[in-house]
């Protein structure tokens, strides 16, 4: 199991690196797919069977497909994804790296503290899938629909809001028309800018 963990760890990091370094978004998507796949295996190893499956279905099946569709949609245009200079301060990348390393150490340090492995509220581990066994689908479902019913319902609400939001944002509605007043301001600003440019 230790070997499996380290192998998965290497694969997870590698695929994640690929996601953020790939030139083309579609390659990133492929990397992310791989990443999710390895992650699902890790979840299995942590006895989270249901979530491992969800990970594959929801993330790999739904969300990544969405990414692919958007990429396809946008790639039909002619403009490149990135134009112009990178305006981020030069210090950004090294700063991120330093912070990342720092935090990594911190996190590692925190969790090296002895943690009491308690089993107060949980259930005993047992055969996969069976009720009353930690991480089983039945166990998860029981927790979800009894103790955590309200949060579960709220997720439904969140998703609905998201759907409405997406429709409002990307839906094909009447474009935003500036009021006359605003138009005047814009016009005045432009005129001033032209005058200023002329003076310079």
């Amino acid at each position: 199991m230790t070997i499996a963990f380290w192998a998965l760890a290497v694969l997870l990091v590698a695929s994640a690196m690929f996601v953020i370094t790939a030139k083309k978004p579609v390659h990133s998507v492929a990397g992310l797919l791989a990443h999710f796949f390895f992650l699902a295996i890790t979840y299995f190893m942590l006895s989270a069977e249901f979530l491992a499956v969800i990970q594959l279905i929801v993330y790999s099946g739904a969300i990544l497909m969405l990414f692919v569709f958007v990429i396809a949609l946008l790639s039909s245009g002619v403009a490149p994804f990135s134009v112009g200079p990178d305006r981020l301060p030069k210090i950004a990348a090294p700063a991120t790296l330093i912070v990342a390393v720092l935090l990594g150490f911190v996190a590692y340090g925190i969790s090296r503290e002895p943690i009491v492995l308690a089993n107060e509220h949980g259930v005993a581990a047992g055969p996969v899938g069976a009720a009353g066994v930690f991480g089983s689908v039945a166990d998860f479902g029981h927790a979800l629909f009894t103790t955590n019913l309200l949060p579960f319902e709220i997720t439904a609400f969140i998703l609905m809001v998201a759907v409405i939001g997406v429709i409002l944002l990307a839906g094909d509605h009447v474009p935003y028309v500036p009021t006359r007043r605003r138009a005047r301001i814009v016009e005045r600003d432009m005129r001033e800018a032209i005058v200023r440019a002329g003076e310079e």
Partner: protein, 637 residues
Amino acid sequence: MGIDGAYPLLFVIWLVPLAGAIVNWAFGPQLKRSATIIGSAAIGIPFVATLMAWNAATQSSGAAVGAHQNLFSWMPGFDFGLLLDPLSLIWALIITGVGFLIHAYSVGYMWSDSAIARFFAYMNFFVFAMLTLVLSDNFVGLLVGWGLVGLASYFLIGFWFFKPVAVAAARKAFVINVVGDVAIMFAIFMMFAKIGSITFANVFAHVGALDGWLFWTCLFLFIGAAAKSAQIPLHTWLPDAMEGPTPVSALIHAATMVTAGVYLVARCWPLWNASHSAQLLVGTIGGLTALAGALLGIAQWDIKRILAYSTMSQIGYMIMGVGVGAYQAGVAHFFTHAFFKACLFLGAGIVIHELADEQDIRRMGGMRSRAPVAFFAMFAAVLAISGFPGFAGFFSKDQVVFGALEHGHPWLYAVGIVTAGITAYYMFRLFFVTFFGTYRGDVDPEHEPARGESHAPAWIMALPVAILGIFSVIAGYAMIGSNPPWSRLFAHTFPSENLPPVAIGEGWTTAILFVVMAAGIAIAYARYATPVALANAPARLRLESERMPAVLVRLFYFDDVIDWLFVKPSLALGRFFGSWFDPDFIDGAVRGLVTLSTELAAVVRYFQNGLLRSYALIVVFGAACFAIYYALQGTVR
């Protein structure tokens, strides 16, 4: 009938001039020249009432003669009332009597001025204010009158408001008088704080309560008196005030208002009696003013300015009199001075009127034939002011000068005598240069005098002058004798004192004064009225004006020093505050705060660059800080 206690005519005396002023002011445009009748009547009626009051007062037997009338409570602790006692009666008589004559004279003098109704409104208002001043039974009421006469004087000096010189003179007079007002105010604070009352009766009854503050109270009261009465060094407004119409100069700046300072000191005699240093101060200032006014009178060429300096000088006498403790002498000099000085001004007014507003005596001469009434009246008045025996000024001036010696001030006595000589010299100089010789100006004698389509009859100006001229001769006799009505009145004004006899008796003083005066007249005659001098008058006068010492021409530099000490620093300070300190320093500090916050905002703004990724970076950084904080806390624990 005595006038002890309430006296209904008091309101007639006090308020009728105000009614006249209001009517003339409100309906001036409709009244036009009928305003002269209302205006004169508004002074004539109080004059008659005052005479009746005087008649009643002389018949009252008690020592304390006086009518008192409570009016209303102005503020808690500030109760207003009217008081008619011998002192205020003397002043009221002069104000209404001489005032009436001058009003009548003004009818002729101002006849062709389009704003004649306004003039009479102001004049009536002045009389009202002056009566408020002298009839008030408390210091605040006196101060109200004090301020209002200053206002009336301001209006009348600046009556011809289109003349910039007149406007400037009016402002100067007002501001210097406000200096006096606030000084009196401060004296009132002291009296209110120490005695708790502002009525004359209470204050004088508790002079002792002022203890250490007594001198300061007297000093501040006297600053007020000096500003109003043109005493050194607050006299500079008086000559400039001659920019007003001549009747104004006669009424306000000679007969009545400028003597308010004398009234104040005389009214507060219990205070001065209690403070010897205050007496010395007032007497010295009075003497110095008398001398300085006389010296400056020598150097002037403007007929009204000569009279202005002589007024200043004569008021110096009065102040010296009341200052040294010879109150009765000072008041007597006020009484006689009102007549002869008003006469001089009005006579000068006739001359000025005759010569189409010419005021320079170098361009006069030979006026004896052109203005005979003025000549005779002014001759009487000049003799009176010089103190010629038998004329009005003789009696009072003699009293004042001798009073100085009697109360132990030999130096002031000397000053008084010297000044009397100089007075005789410059008054006769004026008289000779104006009336003798030949005419040196260029106004056609056949020409109808002054700007005038229509004229008031000539007698309307001549008659008041003649009456005043007569009084310049006879007024002095009111003070002699043991029991005529007049002297009874004077006798009740102040308590008599038994003073030790002095080295030089009164007879000797009279003699010395006569000699000095005769010398003054003789010099004036030698310089201006000998046949030779008259023949070469233009050249001699020109030579004299060229050789006049600068110190006299520049009026002892009083104006320059005041300008240099007060006016210029104030303006400089104002400019410094207004154009640098306020906008740049104080407001600069405020704007500095604004700049500071703008700068701080600019720093923050650097992070607010709109780049999504930089915001993400900042979030990460913040998260890192938190994480590190908790991690360190963890390790410490």
